[in-house]
């Protein structure tokens, strides 16, 4: 079943507002919450208009007085326009503000680079105390929004825009623990976000046909990073491939490379992400993911090429 993660967030939050009077939803004219939703939420919903710095500052002020704000904005505006307020007002004070950022990655599609966020994971995950999660489908979003009540300090949740496919049945996702979707000893495919995770699952099927067994990790939490699960999967493997809707630097690939580089027996890491340029073509999210080759075929090609090279270099020794 396809469903938008941002809608899953909204539909999960609304009943939570009734149960938890300390929660407050601050909007920035995103249109995610209708007039009826606003009426139903009463004083627990406030539309502050198109002013993202003020949105984050007010959320911090409210949080300093004991409220738990959920702030709605687009990932592009959270990660750049409002970044200083997130850094100083929220992260510096370790305040429990929930930054619910829609249009993450390529989800803005044809709206173009102004509305796409391909730097947010890099920028947010370096802030001390910030929890950063990327649900890969609507069900995970529901789980994370509910679990957010147990997260101390600030939380950034990267959401999508339009409906994306549901992941196959898997153990329930838990913030902070990478989700193992498939186990195999040869390579690790690590991804976050709807299309990258699906691409890795499809790639794993294809690779199995070539006798290559892959572990597929849904690394939905970039911070705090689950080094343990990654290391355990990577230790026996010959290769780790990361896939994400993000520039190649600083996001999931960066987090995986950092984590493995600090282990005694690092495994080679290949990072698949967006090329080092702004999106220059029109298309919806699915089209752009394909256009920029964040696909199962690319993952398969990457793995097979890398392993062939390793095999060749092995024979020359």
């Amino acid at each position: 079943m396809s469903r938008a993660t941002r809608e899953a967030y909204r539909d999960t939050l609304l009943p939570m507002l009734e149960r938890h009077p300390e929660l407050i939803c601050l909007d920035s004219d995103t249109g995610l919450f209708s007039a009826d939703h606003a009426v139903a939420a009463g004083e627990q919903y406030v539309n502050l208009g198109i002013a993202e710095h003020n949105l984050m500052g007010m959320a911090a002020g409210l949080a300093a007085c004991g409220r738990i704000p959920f702030v709605n904005t687009m990932a592009a505006f959270a990660a750049s326009r409002a970044l200083e307020a997130i850094k100083i007002d929220i992260a510096y004070n370790r305040l429990p503000v929930r930054i619910m950022a829609t249009h993450g990655g390529l989800a803005a599609g044809h709206l173009g680079p102004t509305h796409q966020a391909l730097e947010d994971l890099a920028v947010l995950r370096v802030l001390p105390g910030m929890t950063v999660v990327v649900p890969a489908d609507a069900a995970a979003t529901e789980a994370f929004v509910e679990q957010s009540l147990d997260v101390s300090g600030p939380l950034y949740v990267r959401l999508g825009r339009k409906a994306t496919p549901a992941l196959p049945e898997a153990p329930p996702p838990v913030i902070g623990t990478a989700q193992t979707l498939r186990e195999g000893g040869d390579v690790v495919l690590a991804a976050c976000g709807p299309y990258p995770v699906l691409a890795c699952l499809a790639a794993a099927d294809d690779l199995a046909g070539h006798g290559i067994e892959a572990t597929v990790l849904n690394v939905h939490t970039l911070r705090p990073f689950d080094t343990e699960t990654l290391t355990a999967a990577a230790r026996p493997a010959r290769l780790v491939v990361t896939v994400e809707e993000h520039w190649r630097s600083g996001g999931l690939g960066g987090a995986v490379a950092e984590a493995l580089a600090e282990q005694t027996a690092p495994t080679r890491v290949l990072r698949l992400g967006m090329p080092d340029r702004f999106v220059d073509t029109v298309g919806n999210q699915e089209h752009l993911v394909t256009h920029y080759d964040l696909t199962a075929e690319r993952v398969v090609r990457t793995v097979r090429t890398a392993l062939d090279t390793a095999a060749l270099s092995g024979t020359t020794r």
Binding site: G57, M58, L62
Partner: protein, 280 residues
């Protein structure tokens, strides 16, 4: 000792003079300090902490307390001196300002008792105070939220984002003070980015506006105690001040913005403060 008792013993002018004296000593330390903007805001801080704010240094986290934010965080030396005089921490600690190991950083930090939230990057305080005010109102608390802005700081767009929100939400227990000293780091604010007619600008954003001599602590206290001045509107008090007020060799000069007082100038400053005190 409550603020009322303190003012019964010492006039607001006497308290302000002691705060200036502490600031001068801190600015003679190894790192110096933002003397000019600290001096222009001394009476505002004195009026707030020794007459207006409902705060108790023994219970700095009382949820019912009024809240104050120094949005122009570079005036930290004045805030530290005020908080120490008000009993939030020992006055003796001020001598550690700017020295390794001290918690008194160049901009206010939460480690200092009485500091609500850290500030220093300009344009943050009003939004934070809006958050305080909204939280107080929805909790049914009468507490007020105060914020001190610099006039140069008004060049930050985020100030006006917050000004819109405060008026739109009818946060009438939110009170802003603008330290209108007319100078910023490199010169006159109105030469760098004209802000007049300042009162009309705030009024047009839906705020109740008053103007006052920012070095008249009693008048400041009267206006601030009376807020909200108009039901449903946030209040802004434009305090006309002089950067470096009270030090003839620095007053009204942009050069007073950041000062490390040499031993000679430290002595001059102390002498000038004594003269002012005697004359007053």
């Amino acid at each position: 000792m409550t603020a009322t008792q303190a003012t019964a013993l010492d006039t607001l002018e006497e308290v302000a003079a002691r705060i200036r004296s502490h600031v001068v000593d801190m600015c003679a330390g190894p790192e110096g300090g933002h003397l000019g903007g600290a001096f222009s805001s001394v009476e505002v801080l004195t009026a707030l902490y020794f007459s207006v704010l409902d705060v108790d240094p023994r219970r700095p986290d009382d949820p019912e307390r009024d809240r104050f934010l120094l949005s122009k965080g570079h005036a930290a030396v004045a805030l530290y001196a005020t908080l120490a005089e008000r009993g939030f921490f020992p006055v003796g600690e001020l001598s550690g300002y700017g020295r390794p190991g001290s918690r008194l950083m160049g901009h206010p930090v939460r480690a200092v008792p009485g500091v609500e939230l850290p500030t220093g990057s300009l344009g943050h305080g009003l939004a934070l105070a809006c958050g305080f005010a909204l939280a107080h109102r929805s909790a049914g608390r009468d507490a007020r939220s105060f914020v001190l802005l610099g006039d140069g700081e008004l060049q930050e767009g985020s100030v006006w984002e917050a000004a819109i929100a405060a008026a739109s939400l009818r946060l009438d227990r939110l009170v802003a003070v603008v330290d209108r000293n007319g100078l910023q780091l490199t010169g006159a604010t109105d030469r760098i980015a004209p802000m007049e007619p300042l009162a009309d600008r705030w009024r047009s954003f839906g705020w109740a506006v008053r103007e006052v001599d920012g070095h008249d602590a009693a008048a400041l206290a009267d206006h601030l105690a009376a807020a909200p001045w108009e039901p449903g509107r946030p209040s802004v008090l434009i305090a006309r001040t002089v950067k470096g007020h009270g030090l003839p060799f620095l007053a009204g000069r942009a050069a007073s913005h950041y000062v490390t007082l040499s031993p000679r100038n430290h002595a001059r400053a102390r002498a000038a403060l004594r003269t002012t005190e005697t004359a007053g």
